[in-house]
């Protein structure tokens, strides 16, 4: 009697090809199932960031071809269930259920399943099947399945699900050909009937009444949408008339399922019961055993007593490596830049040589020398993330995060902030409540990003040659403590409210692969070079012009800056603001231009110092020691750089993520005021202590 719910009318919903010729394949699955690795394997370097109107998250789209047929492949954010609870999950759900913008719904879904967590992943599979979109399952990390002694029979599983199940190993690239072949034949229409769950009679009855109402209203729906309407899933009514949704609500409110207290209970319980029956015989009895390597590591790494010391030690090691190891290549690049700058000025006499040598090379070089430090730090954060340790860090730190009114999961975007604040702000989408997200967005700028590192390394190399690592460690801790204190303050005043529920999956430990690591390093280097080649170079040359002109006509071409150039005139206006902090004019100018990006701070100082007559033979470290008037001012400078607005991009990102100008303005204002206050206090105290 319920057969029509599985076929007939609702099949007309099967997505219509969008205008583009190549079919759209959406890659979906639980978080940490290896979607992105699979995406990289399928598309190679053939990727771009796709722009979907209405989606704030950047979705990556790539093209793969098989047998000469191209497919567009879209990498969706991870989700556990179509009843989404976070903005990230909502984006994935909307794209699957409703389709977004001109792209429409995907033509096929590839669900990536971590073979070790098969049972739970199948819940999403059941929901996807009910959406009436063809589905292909990539049973990923299949090598781990074998290693852990789990017994999964992909063929039998495939028969029972009524969808192709292809074993894959994402990081080794195996199974890709078979996956593509399955996608192709599924798109060509050779699809078995998918599995079907028949709920208890009252539920089935309510579902068929809802489906009939929608059919009569001229808007036929899939079984998945009917279940959504029955269980009060807020998004399910999208695209339906208000009266239809109202009628569905009446049906939902007038009945009760045969088991469980609510429709949601009945549906979820039935699904899990179906899953366990479905798995009987297809997956071995051991399928719930967790792997022993993870258990052994967890016993030490998140142990009651050893957990937090190890965590702090890992962070300390990371910053020490960034500073100490990075110092060697940094010195080589520094010497190279100084040499190149002089060589260019010798080779090209006159004003052009000066623009290139002092403006471009010196300015850009001052930033370029920090590439090694940034690469080491980014690699460290990546390794922590890829190995599975980052989730443990969230587990260890949840209590501390709660002190600042945040969710343990907010620890991950905050930690990412040490790499770069911009992706960290976008990463705040893992948070489920809007309040948690806003608070995280306001606090991320205090996480010292890698662009600030050049300034620290530069200043500490000049003033604290023996304790550089320690000073930088203190800056990072100081920024984090500031975030804790302000977080507490904000959650007691302007952002009161409950934090979202905490449900954190701890993925198994895995070896990060060489391929993803080198990919990341290549990507970081590319973005870094593009940035310093663009914004930073432009600013370096502009600063050079402002500090070289105006000057008498006969003097043009001679090195050195006059004291009456534009930059000093501008500087004269802002000088009183920074005077109480003990800063000199070049420092003031560097800070003001640093509002655009922190890389520019170092570049500006490089240009300003290069114009100095005495500077031509000195390395940058020696110039700094001469230009900054003492240790107290140096410390105050570091504190100011740590705390004030990180860069223009973060301001734009904050606006895009918070969607409110008053939060953006508030953020910029309080950061700058707070930075001034803290730098002033640092200067006063340091002067007092050091005499």
């Amino acid at each position: 009697m319920h057969d029509h719910s599985n076929g007939g009318s609702s099949h007309s919903l099967t997505s219509v090809r969008s205008g583009a010729a190549a079919p759209l394949i959406a890659l979906t699955g639980n978080p940490n199932s290896g979607k992105t690795t699979l995406f990289n394997q399928l598309t190679g370097s053939n990727q771009k960031v796709a722009n979907y109107s209405g989606v704030t998250v950047e979705l990556r789209e790539g093209v793969a071809s098989y047998d000469g047929v191209p497919f567009r492949i879209l990498d969706l954010p991870g989700l556990y269930s179509l009843s989404a609870v976070s903005p990230d999950e909502e984006i994935a759900r909307d794209l699957i259920v409703h389709g977004i913008g001109a792209a429409g719904r995907p033509d096929l879904i590839v669900q990536v399943i971590d073979g070790g967590r098969l049972e739970r992943s199948l819940l999403l599979t059941m929901q996807l099947i009910e959406q009436n979109i063809p589905i292909v399952i990539a049973l990923n990390m299949y090598d781990e399945v074998a290693r852990r002694g789990l017994l999964i029979d992909p063929k039998l599983l495939s028969e029972r699900l009524g969808a192709p199940v292809i074993p894959t190993v994402g990081n080794k690239g195996s199974g890709m050909k078979l996956l593509m072949a399955a996608i192709k034949s599924s798109l060509n229409g050779s699809r078995p009937t998918p599995m079907h769950i028949e709920f208890d009679p009252p539920t089935e009855d309510a579902l068929s009444r809802i489906e009939t109402i929608c059919l009569e209203a001229g808007t036929p729906i899939s079984r998945g949408v009917a279940i959504g309407l029955l269980t009060h899933e807020p998004s399910a009514g999208g695209g339906l008339a208000t009266e239809t949704v109202e009628l569905a609500r009446e049906i939902s409110q007038s009945g009760k399922p045969a088991i469980g207290g609510s429709w949601t209970d009945a549906v979820t319980h039935a699904r899990y019961a179906a899953i366990s029956e479905l798995l009987a015989g297809t997956a071995g009895v051991n399928s719930t055993r967790f792997d022993s390597r993870t258990a052994r590591l967890d016993h030490i790494l998140i142990h009651r007593y050893s957990g937090i010391p190890i965590f702090l030690f890992i962070l300390y090691l990371l910053f020490q490596a960034t500073f100490t190891l990075g110092a060697y290549p940094m010195n080589w690049i520094d010497a190279g830049v100084t040499w190149l700058s002089s060589a260019v000025k010798l080779a090209i006499p006159g004003v052009f040589g000066l623009v290139i040598g002092d403006g471009f090379i010196h300015g850009v070089g001052m930033v370029l020398i920090f590439l090694p430090n940034i690469l080491i730090l980014m690699m460290g954060i990546h390794l922590l993330e890829d190995s599975g340790y980052m989730a443990r860090a969230a587990f260890l730190m949840d209590r501390v995060m709660r002190l600042m009114g945040l969710h343990g999961r907010a620890f991950i975007p905050l930690l990412m902030g040490f790499g770069c604040n911009v992706p960290a702000m976008m990463g705040s989408r893992v948070l489920e409540s809007r309040r948690d997200r806003l608070l995280t967005l306001l606090l991320i700028p205090f996480m010292s990003c890698s662009a600030r590192l050049p300034v620290y390394v530069m200043v500490t190399a000049a003033f604290f040659p023996n304790h550089g690592g320690l000073v930088i460690f203190c800056l990072y801790v100081g920024g984090s403590l500031t975030a804790v204190i302000l977080g507490k303050l904000f959650s007691r005043t302007i952002l009161r409210g409950q934090t979202a529920p905490f449900m954190l999956e701890l993925p198994p430990y895995r070896w990060p692969t060489l391929k993803t690591t080198t990919n990341l390093l290549r990507f970081t280097t590319k973005t870094f070079l593009r940035r310093i080649g663009g914004v930073t170079a432009m600013f370096a040359v502009a600063i050079w012009f402002l500090s070289y002109f105006p000057r008498p006509l006969e003097d043009i071409g001679s090195p050195g800056f006059g004291k009456d150039t534009y930059i000093y005139r501008i500087g004269g206006v802002i000088e009183p603001v920074f005077e109480p902090l003990g800063f000199t004019l070049p420092m003031d100018i560097a800070l003001v231009s640093g509002f655009v990006a922190k890389e520019v701070v170092a570049a500006t100082m490089g240009v300003l110092f290069a114009g100095d007559a005495e500077a031509s033979q000195e390395t940058m470290v020696e110039q700094l020691r001469r230009q900054i008037p003492g240790t107290a001012a140096a410390l105050a400078f570091l504190v100011f750089v740590l705390l004030y607005t990180p860069c223009l991009t973060t301001v734009v990102t904050l606006q895009r993520e918070s969607r409110k100008w008053y939060w953006t303005t508030f953020s910029v204002l309080y950061q700058t005021l707070f930075a001034w206050g803290a730098a002033w206090a640092t200067f006063r105290i340091a002067t007092m202590v050091m005499g």
């Binding site: 098969l118 045969a258 979820t268 998140i302 993925p507």
Partner: protein
């Protein structure tokens, strides 16, 4: 032929009948998951309350009849780590409190 699952069509599995039975019981007075000492293995009786949190707990596999290992508490005693259905998840005490349990197996 693809799998068809039907509610209560004569050959109930052990788990399904356990679900039906446990839903019929009242479990308001039972112990909850936040009170269990690490090392124990428990069986879920029911999830208290409705709403988004209860739904997500169910979707993550916290279903009546499921067996859950209580692994450890975090160094600051909250959250608590659990193992169920072959994966690891951590919940805060206030969330674990919603999960009522029965049949506790204490560590040897």
């Amino acid at each position: 032929m693809a799998f068809r699952w039907r509610f209560g069509n004569g050959h109930k599995t052990a788990r399904q009948s356990a679900i039906t039975r446990s839903m019929a019981e009242t479990c308001g007075k039972r112990q909850n998951l936040s009170e269990v000492e690490p090392g124990a293995t428990v069986e879920i009786c029911c999830i208290e309350g409705g709403g988004r949190l209860a739904r997500r707990l169910a979707e993550m596999g916290f279903i009546p009849g499921t067996s859950v290992d209580v692994l450890r508490r975090a160094p600051l005693s909250d959250p608590i780590e659990f193992q169920l259905r072959g994966y690891l998840v951590s919940l805060r005490r206030e969330e674990a409190r919603l999960v009522r349990i029965k049949h506790i197996e204490l560590p040897a």
